[in-house]
């Protein structure tokens, strides 16, 4: 009897496990081109599209059920309905930013990369150098070139080819608490509500000193003038911008770091100087950009970093009562020359080399479709549109577009499109930590950063398909 029960249990378990093995959400790898003919007479081609969270909704987050994949799913639906070459199916998945490289590397090794990836270009540049992406130069036409400024094309061009179709961009700026400025008697430094205020370096230092000395302690206890962080690579683009404050070009024409000169040392000295003067939050070596953001929201920092998405998300939280309301405005990162230091994260789609011509063809057609369709490109207003036509259309609804547009002539390409940029990010924050805790002098820190950084670039150049062409 018991043996029978055992047998039944074993059979049940086997059945369960076989169900498990087959039980999948589809369980068919999207992206497999089966080449089957369908009732429409067109060949069936299936592609998979991955994106990192950019904005919610198709046109904006106010839509019902708005999610990070709403836009791409809508675009996929619109594309497949009008597509004539193949019976295309587009599968869309949202990938968290910090899961991107793990997922891509495993899938690239397994020969199953996504067909399309929609993401900030700076995070994807290394995949170009590895030969994992295909050029998109052939799908860029003159009308797109005329509508999108050259700065953005430069950011997506590696060697001679365009590898990302620019869709929107997220410029990095400073954000300041205008209420704290006023409380410290710094009214004259407060810009307009829809202005990105530009201060000279001398003015900026005056602001920092004013905040340090005059901020009323009863109202803003435990508050500091400016955010400083170096615990990891998050938010490092602002730290990179500070290193250019005194005019250092950062990269030479061969793509090597040239930060270790008089201007670079001055920038490092400035970072140490403002820390020692008490103008920044303490313990920058163990503070993350996320912590700094939290401190700013809690009015413990008067000046922090932001980009349009973070800025509008914080504003939305203030409006909904999830965060305390205060007068929050934008400013440029100052420089010694007086020109603002302006950088941006260009966001766009890339196409992976899947070694399947039909899938690559469909993927390119899809990228071109949603990057040029007059209705779909309007969604780029959730960041800052790269297309001047879209900026123009929404300028009354989004008054900051004009301010961002005015900044575009000061843009610098912070990655230099060099190979190994993601590895390069790992060598800056240890040097900043050493600087802040006094383990290295500014001269040593910048020299070591340059030496270590150039080693990484050199190694990656050797395997870069762009440099080895």
């Amino acid at each position: 009897m018991k043996r029978k029960r055992l047998l039944v249990a074993a059979v049940a378990l086997m059945m369960l496990t076989s169900i498990i093995a087959g039980c999948a959400s589809g369980n068919n790898e999207a992206g497999n081109n089966k080449g089957t003919d369908t009732s429409s007479g067109k060949e069936k081609v299936e592609i998979k599209v991955w994106l990192t969270p950019q904005w919610k909704g198709v046109l904006d987050a106010s839509e019902q059920g708005a999610d990070y994949d709403s836009f791409m799913k809508y675009a996929a639906d619109k594309f497949t309905k009008q597509y004539e070459k193949y019976d295309a199916k587009v599968n869309v998945e949202v990938i968290a930013g910090d899961q991107r490289d793990q997922l891509l590397n495993v899938n690239l090794s397994g020969g199953t990369p996504p067909d399309v990836f929609f993401e900030s270009v700076f995070a994807m540049g290394d995949y170009v150098h590895r030969g994992a992406l295909v050029p998109l130069t052939d799908i860029v036409d003159d009308s797109a070139k005329g509508d999108i400024a050259q700065n953005y094309w430069d950011a997506v061009t590696f060697g001679d080819d365009v590898y990302f179709y620019p869709f929107q961009h997220n410029p990095g700026t400073l954000v300041y608490n205008a209420d704290m400025f006023r409380a410290a008697g710094l009214d004259k430094f407060v810009g307009e509500e829809n202005e990105i205020k530009t201060w000279t370096l001398a003015e900026y230092e005056e602001v920092l000193k004013g905040l340090k000395d005059k901020l009323p302690k009863d109202k803003y206890s435990n508050a500091y003038p400016m955010a400083q962080y170096a615990v990891n690579n998050q938010g490092d683009t602002w730290n990179l911008a500070y290193l250019r404050m005194f005019g250092n070009p950062f990269f030479d024409e061969q793509g090597n770091i040239v930060a270790n000169d008089e201007k670079g040392v001055k920038a490092m000295e400035w970072l140490k100087k403002i820390k020692d003067a008490g103008y920044t939050n303490p313990g920058a070596e163990s503070v993350s950009s996320n912590d700094a953001n939290g401190m700013f929201q809690n009015q413990q920092l008067a000046i922090s970093f932001t980009n349009p998405i973070l800025f509008s998300n914080t504003k939305a939280d203030m409006e909904s009562g999830k965060a305390k309301k205060f007068d929050m405005r934008l400013a440029n990162i100052p420089s010694e020359s007086g020109d603002p230091l302006s950088f941006t994260y260009v966001v766009g789609a890339s196409v992976f080399q899947t070694n399947d011509e039909k899938r690559i063809e469909v993927a390119k057609d899809f990228v071109k479709f949603f990057s040029t369709d007059p209705e779909l490109v309007k969604s780029s207003k959730n960041g800052i549109p790269v297309r001047s036509s879209v900026s123009e259309e929404f300028k009354s609804e989004k008054p900051l577009f004009a301010a961002y547009d005015a900044n575009s002539k000061y843009l610098f390409n912070f990655t230099g499109n060099i190979p190994g940029y993601s590895q390069l990010r790992e060598v800056l924050y240890p040097e900043l930590q050493a600087l802040y805790i006094g383990a290295k002098t500014p001269q040593q820190a910048i020299a070591d950063y340059q030496t270590n950084g150039n080693k990484i670039i050199e190694t990656n150049k050797a395997s870069s398909v762009i440099y080895q062409k």
């Binding site: 959400s25 589809g26 790898e29 994949d69 090794s109 206890s221 809690n298 939280d317």
Partner: protein, 280 residues
Amino acid sequence: MSQTKNKKKMERFDVITNAIVILFAIVNLFPLYWLFTSSLKNSSDVVKMPPDWWPTTITFSNYADVFQSQPALRWAFNSLFVSGVATILVIMVGAMAAYGFSKLRFKGRNIIFIIFISSLMIPKEIMIVPLFRITQDFGMVNSYGGMIWPNVATAFGVFLLKGFFDSTPDALREASRIDGAGEWRTFFQIMLPIIKPGIGALFILNFVQVWNDYLWQLVIGQEKTMKTLMVGTATLMQDLNPNFAYKMAGATVAAIPMLLIFLLFQRYFTQGMTAGAVKE
């Protein structure tokens, strides 16, 4: 006189040790307390200085956001199913293998056991690419099978349970055989009940390991509905999302089932960890 003195000494010792234990408990429980109470606050109150030790205004909107905007219930089911089934299979397979290594005599037994144990030294991260390719060839990407089977092929269960079988007297098995029981019956009815604390310990250890497994579940469960709670809630931790309380709510949702499992099975866990420590 000396007995009273000893008793007093013991009492003092108890007070001190209890105080230390309570202190450690507070230190260990505080992050959980902070996580939970922060999830009931508004975002700006999470980073408030000086902090509110208890939320001044309690809001459940962060939990509503987690469950409304994300398939968190599905993620929780996926985690429970994958961890539960993988652990049951590990116990079944591991117990049989451990019994074989411990009680059966066959050629090459020690060498095979050493090979088994050696596999524990290889981190999963090293095998992830070949493992992914194999799973892909079996058509198990985005499937429960792909999430479960690689977690079953682990030598840890064999290693742990062999120790328990080793501590049971051989005479028991011999007596059972003399009484006419076959090997299967001896295994299931005599030996397995004896090592119940070991099975309890293996259950909780393996369940926690599979529950917390991040990298493998990340690469296999690529579709939103196939994500586990660990992977799914990690997607909420975006730098661009300034709502700290929302992230705390996500982390709480991920932590609660694990806490419940631990509370339910802690008796077996502690028994399992101490069993075999002394010879009786």
